[in-house]
């Protein structure tokens, strides 16, 4: 592995990337996103910005109970309200669905039961939001209250009143994996340590609340409602099309899903969210276009965030720091529906592998149902909370063995190419360089251990998949397909199903297509994520887009390039292989590149060569030119070459697709399909923090984050993704937490959920490491998720370095920190934790509530566990 370049931190307003010249003209350049102007001018349209003539507004009635049977639902009073057009209930769309084939446990609107506060009961469609809201108050529902479960370990004991009848003990799924010989591994170790870690629940809080607009066409033949078009804020338009087809009993061919601009996803829009189905069902019943946009509170109920996770972790090491065995028991508080849960619990185990060389692993994973909103996929899906535990424990071990925490990580490196004990294939592996870089940039060697009082440094590593090697729907279909059409105008239209959600999908596609074709970026027009126009792509999740859609784009471009080359070669009287495509022209390899019209880099990116001068029309004065035209040419403009090709072939289109190679698809064990990826990204981070020992407040001063992204296709975007991941990890580490009281979310708003503001957000120095993956497009891997997981333990380890307390529960709020500091000093204890020592959380907190939360709250059912706890 060779680190080709790193971008450094551009302090001044002058780009420093230009010092890294590569063989590429567009790849590796820090270009503005192709949709940047739409976003900075406000001209770009997100779903809620759209409206149609005659459009109605839908509002959803939510359950006030965490678990109840619906005895009766009467919508007649609501229906009678002026300007109410329709009221939709569960019976209007009884087919079940769910994102995973094994988890079809949701309905658009509840049929027999509600399973969390916020579950969907009915939808009122009216001419205005105010009318719809007023009508919601008139829907009468009679409930039979059922005992509810809020704590996963309590929930697992349930014998009756199950959340789903077909899930005994409210256990969504459990897995028990043994790789190697863990018992032997622990027996061979010199030192074993074991602790419980607790990561509280967090959510995506993307700035755009979910929104869906659904509209039916009238069919010309039948005169009846025909095709359905849905505009939605989704990361997965094709999955949405599939689920709509299931629930509405319509063929997929009759459903068109269009993804407008999406205001952030982070996993929260990576599955079908109830409003997306409800809007379509409502439009069918109301016989008019219907738009539903969630309130922020509804976004919190829709959730699908990172579950509260309890991790019992045991690690055995030799005296030299080499890991001999790892045992993990992971319990996830999954909420009321399956969602991506089965995948989450598998990732938590699988991604114990592929970062370090661990010869023996035992994993017990439990995904448990509780009466709270469903958890799902969130940035760093499945790996984040376990990585927090693992990297914290490794730090502790390093301290115990008196090995430098950076060094202990180096001693456990993989030796790729290799296949890990749990069946993950690792090829490119930039982790060693990542560690070297952050050690160097942070001044680790000279500063660690010599920091001022209450200030410390912590290190941690993480990794992530570049797309899942196996699709959630088992099939042999390609994961991404891209079509390219080039017409006589020289315009290149790329049709991709990949979903731009702010991460730069469209820009990546344009860069890969332009680089492959050697044409100007301005020739590229992206048509994306419209199921009528674009070929299937399974969506923007698990960091798969650059690797998979990027490869598909490259292949499609190569196919059209081949056709252009064969036509151009005829004109130039040479073999197609002798042609070079670059800088918007096609020329013979032997030709002096500069003579062939290479323009300064800036111009070459932005402008296509002059249009309108096609073959046969070029009449220039100079003799030299004339002579050149008469004989075989040495070069042609891209446009000339295109016209020559179309004259020859009649049309110029190409298709490329990508499916992960068989070798990368993982082991054969049950659940072995989750975790394998064609390539893994790597991250190493150092965090510098200080702790106020009187208040427990933690300040993060700086994070150095090195990330191996294979190759940085667009360094400014890669750095943005690294910074964003680290920053989101910092939020989970310090301030963000969903606080529950008896299944009621206490902070369902951005005022109380507290994602960090600019004031307390630290400087984050992104360091790009390029390992050039053998299978990635131009060597690229993922860069949007892998860095998140390292931040939480890096901060935890830095806190330990600063003040000597080991925090095993996230987030590290001031009171948790202060309580731990007091406990350490044996000072006046502060009962802020309901008697539970935060340094050693040996049992779960009362019914899943955050430890700080001591309000008594509502009394519910006599069987409510919360009530039993109070009585006892």
């Amino acid at each position: 592995m060779v680190e080709l370049r790193s971008t450094g931190k551009p302090r001044a307003a002058v780009r420093t990337w230009t010092s890294f010249m590569t063989d590429f003209s567009i790849i590796g350049k820090p270009i503005a996103m192709v949709d940047a102007a739409e976003k900075t001018t406000g001209a770009g349209k997100y779903t809620d910005d759209l409206s149609l003539p005659g459009m109605l507004i839908g509002k959803i009635l939510h359950s006030p109970h965490p678990h109840a049977r619906i005895k009766r639902i009467d919508t007649s009073r609501a229906q009678k309200l002026n300007d109410v057009i329709a009221v939709v209930v569960g019976a209007d769309a009884p087919n079940p669905y769910g994102i995973l084939p094994v988890g079809h446990d949701e309905h658009a609107l509840a049929i027999d039961k509600v399973r969390y506060i916020g579950d969907n009961l009915a939808c009122v469609v009216a001419v205005s939001e105010a009318t719809a809201e007023a009508a919601l108050e008139l829907v009468e529902v009679e409930y039979e209250i059922l005992p509810a479960y809020f704590d996963p370990e309590e929930s697992m004991k349930a014998e009756s009143n199950l959340i789903h009848d077909n899930k005994p003990h409210n256990l969504e799924k459990d897995y028990h994996h043994t790789f190697g010989d863990p018992d032997k591994g622990f027996a061979q170790s010199d030192y074993v340590t074991e602790s419980r870690y607790l990561a509280n629940e967090v959510t995506h809080a993307a700035m755009e609340p979910h929104s869906t607009l659904a509209s039916f066409d009238i069919d010309s033949q039948t005169g009846q409602a025909g095709r359905l078009t849905v505009w939605s804020s989704t990361q997965v338009p094709y999955y949405l099309q599939h689920k709509l087809s299931l629930v509405l009993d319509m063929p997929m061919s009759q459903i068109r899903v269009i993804k407008p601009l999406v205001g952030g996803g982070f996993g929260g829009k990576s599955e079908v969210i109830p409003l997306e189905i409800i809007a379509a069902v409502a439009a069918r019943k109301a016989k008019a276009p219907v738009k539903i946009t969630y309130t922020r509170e509804e976004v919190f109920w829709a959730h699908r965030g990172r579950p509260r996770t309890i991790i019992d972790l045991k690690t055995g090491v030799k005296n030299d720091g080499r890991i001999t065995a790892v045992k993990a028991r992971v319990v996830q508080d999954g909420g009321a529906y399956c969602s991506y849960g089965v995948v989450t619990i598998l990732y938590s185990g699988a991604l114990l592998g592929a970062l370090y060389d661990i010869p023996n692993i035992h994993y017990d994973g439990y995904r448990v149902l509780t009466n709270k909103p469903a958890c799902g996929a969130m940035r760093g899906h499945g790996t984040v909370n376990v990585r927090f535990a693992f990297e914290s424990q490794l730090d502790e071990i390093a301290g115990r063995l008196q090995i430098d925490p950076a060094e202990i990580r180096r001693r456990n490196l993989l030796k790729p190419p290799c296949i890990t004990v749990n069946g993950l294939r690792v090829q490119s592996y930039g982790l060693p360089e990542c560690i070297d870089k952050i050690v160097e940039r942070s001044g680790w060697k000279s500063r660690k251990g010599k920091m001022p009082k209450s200030r410390g440094l912590g290190i941690a590593c993480s990794h992530y998949v570049s797309g899942a090697a196996n699709s959630i729907i088992r099939s042999d279909m390609p994961h991404s397909t891209v079509n390219i059409k080039i017409d006589r105008d020289g315009g290149v239209v790329v049709y991709t199903g990949a979903s731009e959600i702010g991460q730069g999908s469209d820009t990546m596609t344009a860069q890969v297509a332009a680089e492959t074709l050697g044409c100007a970026l301005s020739r590229i027009k992206i048509v994306a994520a419209d199921t009528d126009l674009t070929p299937i792509d399974i969506g923007s999740y698990s960091s798969r887009v650059t690797f998979m859609a990027g490869n598909a784009t490259m292949r499609a471009a190569q196919e059209v390039k081949k056709q252009i080359a064969s036509a151009a070669a005829k004109k130039m009287n040479c073999a197609p292989e002798d042609l070079v495509f670059r800088d918007d022209s096609v020329f013979k390899q032997s030709t002096d590149h500069v003579g062939a019209g290479l323009r300064p880099a800036q111009e070459e990116q932005n402008s296509a060569s002059v249009s309108g001068r096609v073959e046969g029309q070029i009449l220039r004065g100079s003799l030299q030119q004339k002579r050149k035209d008469e004989g075989p040419k040495d070069s042609m403009s891209f446009e000339e070459a295109v016209v020559a090709t179309i004259d020859f072939h009649g049309a110029l289109t190409g298709t490329g697709s990508y499916a992960p190679p068989l070798e990368a698809r993982g082991g054969k064990h049950k659940g072995g399909g989750v975790g394998p990826s064609p390539a893994y990204s790597y991250s190493a981070q150092v965090a510098e923090v200080s702790v106020d020992e009187d208040t427990g407040e933690v300040t993060v001063h700086k994070v150095w984050a090195a990330h191996d992204c294979g190759r940085a296709l667009n360094p400014v975007s890669v750095e943005g993704q690294i910074i964003g991941s680290v920053w989101m990890g910092m939020g989970q580490a310090l301030t963000e937490e969903m606080v529950w009281k008896d299944g009621l979310l206490m902070n369902p708003g951005l005022l109380e959920y507290r994602s960090p503001s600019s004031v307390e957000s630290p400087e984050i120095e992104p360091i790009i490491v390029e390992s050039i993956d053998p299978e990635g497009p131009f060597g690229a891997k993922e860069c949007s998720e892998g860095s998140l997981a390292a931040t939480i333990p890096a901060i935890a380890n830095a806190i330990y370095d600063a003040v000597g307390i080991r925090l095993r529960e996230s987030p590290f709020t001031p009171e948790r920190v202060l309580a731990a500091l007091r406990a350490k000093k044996n000072a006046k204890t502060l009962d802020m934790t309901e008697g539970v020592d935060p340094t050693a959380p040996v049992r779960l907190r009362e019914h899943g509530g955050a430890l700080w939360f001591k309000g008594k709250g509502p009394e519910r059912h006599e069987l409510d566990p919360a009530r039993r706890t109070e009585g006892g």
């Binding site: 940047a36 976003k39 700035m207 503001s757 600019s758």
Partner: protein, 168 residues
């Protein structure tokens, strides 16, 4: 409730509208004037995605009644770009990764426009303070600081070349 006729000045143009007294400025901009650049990101006046300038001062359009804004000059993100081209700050946000998903960007455009109008050479601390009214979930804010510095530089260069032209 019966609608009332009001007259708003938006992006330099008078607009006559009939709105309910309870209608918020944000809803009026988005629904009645189709100025959908201003966004609704929260319901508790905490996210800043709806920020507009009222007489040049950034305020939350989700927290103002439309009818209360009569007689005041309202500037939305749609009024930021100049003569069909991006303003320096818009260009810089694109170049430096200041916008990812872009949903919070219109709000930031307005607070940054105000910052640049009122503070000649803001320090990093002043920039952080000015941005602290708006939440962003993608960028961690870092690349915005670079964008703002670049925009200031670009504007100063533009001024320099302008004054040179004048001198000639």
């Amino acid at each position: 409730m019966k609608k009332q006729l009001i007259e708003l000045r938006v992006n330099g143009r008078p607009r006559e509208l009939a709105v309910e007294p309870s209608k918020l400025l944000l809803e009026t901009l988005r629904q009645d004037l189709q100025l959908t650049g201003s966004k609704r990101g929260c319901d508790d006046s905490s996210c800043g995605a709806c920020t507009v300038l009222i007489d040049g001062v950034p305020m939350l359009s989700c927290t103002l009644l439309a009818a209360s804004c009569e007689g005041q000059e309202i500037t939305t993100v749609e009024g930021v770009s100049e003569h069909g081209a991006l303003a320096a700050i818009q260009k810089a946000y694109g170049d430096w990764g200041g916008a990812q998903c872009g949903f919070c960007t219109p709000g930031f455009m307005m607070t940054v426009k105000h910052l640049l109008a009122t503070t000649a050479n803001p320090s990093e601390a002043e920039i952080r303070e000015a941005l602290s009214s708006n939440l962003c979930r993608c960028t961690g804010y870092s690349q915005m600081y670079q964008a703002i510095k670049a925009a200031i530089e670009a504007e100063q260069k533009g001024m320099d070349s302008l004054s040179q032209q004048v001198a000639k």
